[in-house]
């Protein structure tokens, strides 16, 4: 019966899709339409490697992995529609195994004018800084929390943007049915006051204010937990709401932005089912003039994990986004210990100075010297017991109390780094970096009981231009640490012929590993060819185990050995 119903539906849709183009054609709508898209294939052939502990039995016949996607978008005037096909056959190692398979996880139709933008199907969205709502995709990390539903964006007057949406979020390939996850609703309003208020029309001070409301509905909201042989059945809220208010003021060289978010109690697997309300605060202050940029930011995160499924513990189904306040390092050894936001609670600050020492000055040299200094520090929250009998974070209680400005004693992350870039003459360019970081590996990676890693990293990055299009680049990195896997050294040589050819050889050597037989070389060779928008790259060698992070999301990449091939293009 269900099958017949489905078939009838399909026939209706098929008829609709055949009729629309015909009707459209007769009205001339199809004329002037355009089709664009892009695709990418990432594949890897895996070798066994006894030193890395990858034996034939671990590979278990999985000698090949492939992640691929293709986007096709059709646009015609105000109308657009598109699909994305994805295939994980099987997923590359390190990606969630629930991705295995292929299909169309993303499709949309949208109609857009100057005043209104309506989308039906899948979409990505961010309210303000994302503290209460952000859906986005990071292909390299296998993270995608797109909404499937409907969204309307309206600009009723100049300077005013209103957004409303309703939908469910992507969960690998699992379709939404029978309330297997939450339904998210959201409203957002933003006002650029210089356009809205006459008094500010001519003002050099620019002011933007905005506010958001988000609610997640989950039908099944009871949770049975057994504690000390007693069975508890907790009643959980069906609807969990979150609110946020934000503001940005800028005047000439100074810019100040802030957002505060509040979330109604949301007991979940992430916070050990406590009934405390959550809050988040973010502020940025910056000063920019030619040759100098200064930035300072601060944040507080307090019980702010917000997912559309209360039992979810992985990166999936996040409704909001809590940005880590630390520098995203570019050199490979400096990415061994990347910080990730602790959604249950943290307080952090960050400061950065960018300065160009003017050219032809004594210090600046002929071409000027660029200096970048960055410092960040993240601590725990100071949590106090709700009452003498109730331990902190006890399930079924209010969890803890914490004053807004109460910083805890546990240091999660601290990073001081300096980077200098100087062009010596027409052929040579040198970059020097020094990084000094403390990383709480117990909290960030869950290595219980391990002491904080204190690492110092030095990098020398030299570029030699042979002629207009040929260049050589040599990078040497050295990391010293007494903890975790000990010292590392890395060297890389790159030869590029602009704008098409790239060759590199690299070795990362963990010579300080406390285990004698883990003092390994991670060598690799790579080659890439680019022609306009088409890029092919091939690399062969060992890949170090580690966290790969883009934006605020990280993925654990297991050690591997083999040949990888990437192909991407757009049209």
């Amino acid at each position: 019966m269900k099958m017949i119903y489905k078939m009838k539906n399909s026939i209706k849709i098929l008829l609709l899709f055949i009729l629309i183009p015909f009707l459209a054609k007769s009205q001339g709508i199809l004329e002037g339409g355009s089709v664009h898209g892009n695709f990418e294939i990432n594949s890897q052939y895996y070798n066994s490697d006894d030193k890395l502990g990858i034996t034939d039995s671990i590979l278990n016949g999985k000698v090949f992995g492939m992640n691929a996607f293709g986007n096709i978008n059709y646009t015609n005037g105000n109308f657009s529609a598109g699909i994305r096909y994805e295939a994980y056959l099987p997923p590359l190692s390190g990606f969630d195994i629930r991705y295995e398979g292929h299909g169309i996880p993303f499709w949309y139709t949208s109609y857009k004018t100057k005043d209104v933008d309506i989308t039906i199907g899948h979409f990505y969205e961010q309210f303000g800084n994302g503290l209460v709502l952000r859906s986005y995709q990071e292909w390299m990390l296998g993270s995608d929390n797109s909404f499937n539903g409907a969204r309307v964006i309206a600009h009723p007057f100049k300077g005013i943007t209103l957004k409303g949406l309703i939908g469910t979020q992507r969960y690998y390939w699992e379709a939404y049915e029978n309330n297997n996850r939450g339904i998210v609703k959201g409203l957002d309003a933003e006002f650029f006051l210089n356009d809205v208020l006459k008094v500010l029309k001519e003002s050099k001070t620019k002011i933007m204010i905005g506010s958001s409301f988000v609610s997640n509905y989950e039908k099944t909201r009871t949770k049975t937990i057994i504690q000390d042989t007693i069975k508890y059945e907790y009643q959980l809220p069906n609807n969990v709401a979150a609110f946020a208010g934000r503001m940005n003021i800028s005047r000439r060289k100074i810019n100040f932005g802030t957002e505060y978010a509040y979330k109604i109690n949301n007991p979940s697997a992430m916070n050990n089912y406590i009934y405390k309300n959550g809050e988040a605060f973010l502020a940025n202050l910056s000063y920019s003039k030619k040759g100098l940029g200064i930035m300072f930011s601060a944040k507080r995160i307090d019980n702010m994990s917000y997912k559309s499924k209360m039992t979810e513990l992985s990166n999936a189904l996040d409704i909001n986004y809590l940005p880590p306040l630390s520098k995203q390092h570019k050199y490979s050894l400096a990415t061994i210990y990347p910080y990730a936001t602790q959604p249950n609670g943290e307080m952090g600050i960050q400061g950065q100075i960018m300065y160009t020492i003017p050219k032809k000055s004594k210090l600046g040299g002929k071409y000027g010297t660029k200096v970048e200094i960055n410092y960040s520090n993240v601590h725990s929250l100071k949590k106090e017991q709700v009452s003498d009998e109730i331990g902190i974070d006890s399930t079924g209680t209010l969890g803890y109390t914490s004053g807004f400005l109460n910083i805890g004693e546990v240091n999660y992350y601290e990073d001081f780094n300096v980077m200098m870039t100087r062009k010596l003459n027409k052929s040579w360019k040198v970059k020097l970096s020094y990084i000094n970081m403390k990383y709480n590996i117990d909290v960030v990676e869950g290595h219980t009981g391990e002491e904080n890693v204190h690492a110092q990293i030095g990098v020398l990055d030299v570029l030699y231009k042979i002629n207009y299009t040929n260049s050589l680049r040599f990078v040497y990195q050295q990391m010293f640490t007494e903890q975790d896997k000990g010292d590392w050294a890395a060297a890389m040589l790159e030869y590029n012929i602009a704008p098409k050819w790239f060759f590199s050889v690299m070795d990362e050597y963990n010579y300080g590993n406390p285990e004698e037989d883990m003092k390994l070389h991670y060598y690799s060779v790579a080659f890439a060819f680019v022609k306009n928008v088409t890029r092919v790259s091939v690399s062969y060698g060992r890949q170090r185990e580690g966290l790969l992070c883009v934006g605020g999301v990280c993925r654990q990449v297991p050690a591997s050995n083999g040949l990888s091939l990437t192909f991407s293009s757009s049209f």
Binding site: G130, L282, Q328
Partner: protein, 174 residues
């Protein structure tokens, strides 16, 4: 079944239009942000009939910064010769988007800075990796697109800009 039907129908539509696609590609109109927090629609990317470069970058992307440093060194010469305007569009997310302007100023860049913190503009232009560079002719048509950067890549760009300024078609150049 439904998905297959939709796919089939879309393919029909797409092949139908792809064959009749003669119009040059223009920038999609997407709401992004100015560093002041003001909403900026990408249809306002303009340069009085002169060519435009769009360069997508992020603070975590080393080749992006090398590329914009290299462009910056020759930017005033390029402007004098071709009247070009360069928009450097940061795809840093909230973690670093508020630092894009101080970063650019601190590096002495002279470009227009725009923020695309949730990659809406990037998605509308259908590409995956940064750096990604576009050249638009005086009429706003996208005439060239390139991914990745190697030192010396800037010489290729100026050659193309000269052709665009002379009204030559470079869409089949590489």
């Amino acid at each position: 079944m439904i998905k297959k039907t939709i796919l089939f129908a879309l393919i029909l539509m797409i092949t139908g239009t792809a064959f009749s696609q003669t119009k040059k590609r223009q920038l999609p109109a997407v709401d992004i942000k100015l560093p002041s927090g003001e909403t900026f629609n990408t249809s306002n990317i303009q340069n009085d009939g002169k060519p435009i470069i769009l360069s997508f970058w992020a603070q975590w992307c080393s080749p992006c910064i090398s590329e914009l440093d290299a462009f910056n060194e020759v930017y005033s010469d390029w402007q004098e010769e071709t009247g070009i305007k360069l928009y450097a569009i940061s795809i840093d997310d909230v973690r670093k988007s508020s630092n894009a302007l101080p970063f650019a100023y601190g590096r002495d860049w002279d470009f227009e800075i725009l923020l695309d913190p949730n990659c809406d503009f990037k998605r509308a232009l259908n590409f995956q990796n940064v750096p990604q560079t576009f050249i638009l002719d005086g009429k706003g048509n996208i005439v060239w697109q390139h991914t990745s950067f190697a030192e010396g890549g800037e010489y290729e760009i100026i050659k193309l800009l000269r052709k665009v300024t002379n009204g030559e078609d470079i869409s089949d150049q590489h």
